[in-house]
């Protein structure tokens, strides 16, 4: 900090806390009061390097090292013209070469190497690429405009928020005053117990405070995108399925048209299974149980045993009618 001093009047930040160091294109610093003094006419020469300077070009020094400041300045100026982009080059190699050239120029200018030569190079480049520069400038402008608009909007919103907050605070204060007055009025004119009156007021205030503490729901991300739209369109409401009467299981019944065959239980209890070959391990592994074909054979033996060919046709006709 103590290094920050004006090279002309030797004032330091320590002695003058409001010291403002300014810098110009040459990269040499001057304090604000010296600038005022030296550039009364709007232009003059730098006390260090005697380069003619304009007052409007003075700006606040951002970096401690003035050389950096100078380089930034030069870079800004150079890049205004050397504004080609990667898309403008056919190969990566060419683009890299171009970037190197730009860096060379900036380095030369900021370190005063071959200044005349370098300036010539810049001029030549400008002449050769006049159209492209113009075009890219336009593009840049567009982009910057957009960004600026965004910033502007954000600023506006912040301003609004601040105003709202201020308003709220004002109201809160007003309310407090009102409540106090009401309390005093109550104490003055009512005939009730003073303690209980104070208590009820205190509890009222507590209640309103709690109400206020419920923060308003955030409706957007910090980036300004509203998330209410996304969340509402992200999930469709689940359609409600109308529930009819509950399903009731009715066991399948079959008319065997013959003697009733045994059922699953009978197979074991009445000993049918002991008369077929037992289920072996291999069968079990494949999910096979002897009881299934056993029952099937029995069912098929009994089914339609009462079949009567003489009446069969008549029954069919009756069925179709």
């Amino acid at each position: 900090m103590e290094d920050q001093a004006c090279p002309r009047c030797k004032t330091t930040k320590y002695r003058n806390p409001s010291l403002k160091l300014l810098v110009n294109v040459c990269g040499h610093t001057l304090c604000e009061s010296c600038v005022d003094l030296l550039f009364l006419k709007g232009s003059g020469s730098c006390p260090d390097c005697h380069i003619p300077l304009r007052r409007v070009n003075f700006r606040v020094q951002l970096y401690e090292d003035a050389a950096v400041e100078k380089e930034v300045d030069i870079r800004k100026r150079i890049l205004r013209d050397f504004n080609k982009k990667e898309e403008d080059f056919a190969t990566q190699r060419e683009y890299d070469d171009y970037l190197e050239e730009v860096e060379d120029i900036i380095f030369n200018l900021s370190n005063n190497i071959d200044v005349v030569e370098t300036n010539k190079r810049i001029e030549q480049y400008k002449r050769e690429n006049k159209e492209l520069i113009q075009k890219n400038k336009h593009k840049w402008g567009k982009k910057e405009n957009e960004l600026e608009e965004l910033l502007e909007q954000e600023k506006l919103e912040q301003e609004e928020k601040r105003q709202e907050m201020a308003k709220l605070e004002l109201e809160l204060q007003k309310k407090k005053v009102q409540q106090k007055e009401a309390l005093i009025d109550e104490l003055m004119f009512s005939e009730g117990d003073a303690k209980s009156i104070v208590q009820t007021f205190a509890s009222n205030i507590q209640a309103t405070k709690e109400e206020l503490q419920v923060a308003p729901k955030a409706t957007g991300f910090s980036s300004g995108i509203k998330f209410s739209q996304q969340s509402s369109s992200g999930f469709l409401p689940v359609p409600k399925i109308e529930e009819g009467p509950k399903y009731k299981y009715v066991p399948i019944s079959q008319d065997f048209e013959g003697p009733t065959p045994p059922n699953w239980k009978d197979l074991k209890s009445k000993g049918f299974l002991s008369n077929v070959r037992p289920t072996n391990d291999m069968d079990k592994a494949s999910g096979f149980e002897v009881s299934v074909p056993c029952l099937r054979a029995l069912q098929e033996a009994m089914s339609c045993l009462y079949h009567n060919p003489k009446t069969h046709r008549k029954e069919q006709i009756a069925e179709t009618i």
Partner: protein, 332 residues
Amino acid sequence: MFPVSSQKKHWLFTDEKEIAQLREQANAAYIVKHGSHMTKEKRENHFLSCQEEESLLRYWEISMKKFCKNFNPPMPKATAATSLHYFKRFYLRNSVMDYHPKYIMVTCIYLACKVEEFNVSILQFVANVNGDKEKCCNIIINNELLLMQQLDYHLTIHNPFRPVEGFLIDIRTRFPSLENPDDLRPLIDEFLEKVFSTDAVLIYAPSQIALAAILHAASSTKANLDSYVTDLLLSREQLKNIVAAVKEIRMMVKGIPATISVETMKLLEKKLEKCKNPENDPDSDIYKQRMEEMIDEDDISNNKTYAKLTHSQSECSNDKILDQIFDQSICN
């Protein structure tokens, strides 16, 4: 389940008379169609009669059984039985003169192999056929759809073999006084084989046929199953009906007429050669011509569509050119 099957609904008939009637109808329909220009006497001489058709069918049924027995890999009985079912059903609606039994026979067996999940490829199948294998392949493939259509696509067949197993399990469980029910098996199998030479499968339910087979086998070995049937299996009201059915089935099996001699068979074949429908004979010129025509028809229809397409495209391009000329004239 048999009670709700298509077999019970559509393919069980009242008696042998009804079946004979159906066959007569098929025979008559063919004669009317192909012999309208002949006198009555000439017709009788030229075409096969119903009896002649029947004896031919019986001959072919026997050769069908032989074919199935000698089939390699060995064919399950149910598959052979199913194919016989198909064969019988097919000739209820069609005359022997319209479709030669030897072609329908192989087709029936091949279809039965598929339906009964007896997995053989067609090459494996025709390896069992004597003669031209490739021709046989073509016959099967050409006739398979026809056969299914004539069967009304009722392909599931309930055979009496499983009911026999059911009865044997039941006898062993509920009627232990019969000592060795498995001794009956050879006789049962013999009976069932004979049953398929009759029309019993077109009249009675498979369980009834199975019961008839078991009772027949029991009476042949002098085993007594009467009390099983009367006391355990059936109630008194139903008894009469079933006993009658069993009796009828056994009568039918007993009454199988003797197979015709090879000489008469050859005579009949000669007669058939003259009166058969040449359109369905793969050896005839008409059949070959028809097949070619069918292929040609496909080509022709393809050509037609192609012509149509090219025509519409050319029209379209003409329109475009006209438009262009029109535009140009306006510009000028």
